[in-house]
């Protein structure tokens, strides 16, 4: 049982690490601010999300698990909001194709 859980943790954390790598490569290589923004959200949402998911398989205390999920939700909220603000500002105050 614990071996199966460990395998799940391994998979999810490794996938999370991959998305952090993808986000960083995108941030460095993409040509303009908006596409770099797109890359950033992959690390924020998926990278951290998958790592949290992987760690959940190792948690024994349900409250500790809840706290991890809370950290991820907060980061999601921050990421989403800041991304919209940056996109809005990057387009010089014009509508960024998002309803703000």
């Amino acid at each position: 049982m614990s071996l199966a859980l460990d395998a799940l943790t391994f998979l999810a954390v490794a996938a999370g690490g991959f998305f952090f790598l993808a986000g960083t490569v995108g941030l460095l290589r993409f040509p303009d601010t908006l596409s770099r923004l797109h890359a950033l959200t992959k690390a924020d949402n998926l990278g951290l999300g998958l790592i949290v998911l992987g760690l959940l398989f190792q948690m024994e205390d349900p409250f500790a698990a809840l706290k991890l999920v809370a950290v991820w939700l907060l980061t999601l909220l921050a990421g989403g909001a800041v991304t919209q603000l940056i996109a809005h500002a990057a387009l010089g105050g014009r509508s960024a194709g998002v309803t703000t």
Binding site: L74, L77, A81, Q84, L85, T100
Partner: protein, 311 residues
């Protein structure tokens, strides 16, 4: 170990770059990144209490403070970065920096092994405070006077900053009034985040008696949430003349000082607590103290009065 090596290289790199950056905004971003790395280092050094303070105060709120300074410099910055200090000044600054660094290095290298510590004494006597977190015990019981003075220093800093206000604005509200945008994303974030942040702040404050946390860290989160609300235009900053604001600012230090003086009568020394009530007294001090620190920090970040006072 790989992680520690990465951290060590990174923190030095970011520090050097932050000092070398000519653009103040870029330097502030570098400073915030630096604070985050230092928080990670404190966790690696098994000092989560310090890591919490660094993450909240060192990186977050100080970052906000420096950002405010950078924005105020905005118009004159291009000129200021253009002029270079004279050779003598550069030489003097370099000499002082090298001397301070050399002194710090010598101190670290000359520390006896094992380093002198009072930790066993704290561990032996912690039961008398009714607390379980030794760091909080040191801050609120053994070295309470240091904490009291720290809070006083914060208040003094605020008074000093307020005195920078031009005469005609004295008594007005600090910072600009931000326009509210009811449908904006910022309003949404502030409305969702505020209750969560207040809950986390109370949690961090409350676990301070048994685990890493405490009044400074909790207060910093309170302050950050309040500034977020003003940035979103949900609330205006209060005018600095307001009586209730002034009372809130001094409530914590006043209660702290009063209980400290009462220590002469009930326990025989300034800031001494009778063993039976130690934890209760510490709690009575900590609650108003947290509110006062939160208000002081938030007003420090908000800046000197910039809005016309309403008379």
């Amino acid at each position: 170990m790989a992680l520690d090596a990465v951290l060590a290289v990174l923190v030095v790199g970011v520090a050097v770059w932050t000092v070398a950056a000519r653009d103040t905004f870029a330097a502030v971003v570098g400073f915030v990144a630096f604070g985050l790395l230092v928080a990670l280092i404190w966790v690696r050094l098994a000092a989560p209490d310090v890591a919490l303070t660094e993450a909240a105060l060192g990186s977050g709120l100080t970052g906000g403070l420096l950002l405010g300074a950078s924005t105020r410099l905005g118009r004159t910055e291009a000129e200021a970065t253009g002029e270079l200090p004279g050779g003598l000044l550069q030489f003097a600054a370099a000499t002082v920096s090298v001397l301070v660094s050399a002194g710090l290095i010598a101190l670290v290298l000359l520390l006896p092994e094992p380093a002198p510590t009072l930790a066993p004494k704290v561990a032996a006597n912690i039961a008398a405070t009714g607390l379980q977190n030794p760091v909080t015990a040191v801050l609120m019981a053994y070295r309470a006077i240091d904490t009291l003075l720290e809070v006083m220093v914060l208040l003094l800093a605020l008074v000093g900053m307020w005195s920078l206000a031009p005469d005609h604005l004295w008594g007005g509200a600090p910072g600009r009034r931000e326009p509210a945008d009811p449908d904006g994303v910022l309003t949404f974030v502030a409305q969702v985040l505020l209750p969560v942040g207040i809950l986390v702040a109370i949690h961090i404050f409350w676990v301070g008696s048994v685990a890493p946390g405490g009044e400074f860290q909790g207060a910093t989160i309170f302050a950050a949430m309040w500034i977020l609300a003003t940035m979103a235009g949900l609330a205006n900053t209060p005018p600095v003349m307001r009586r209730s604001l002034r009372l809130l600012l001094i409530a914590g230090p006043a209660v702290f000082f009063a209980i400290g003086l009462a220590g002469f009568a009930i326990a025989g020394a300034f800031l001494a607590y009778p063993a039976d009530y130690a934890k209760l007294l510490i709690l009575i001090i900590e609650i108003p103290l947290t509110l006062s620190i939160a208000t002081t920090l938030a007003l420090l970040v908000a800046g000197p009065p910039e809005q016309e006072p309403q008379r």
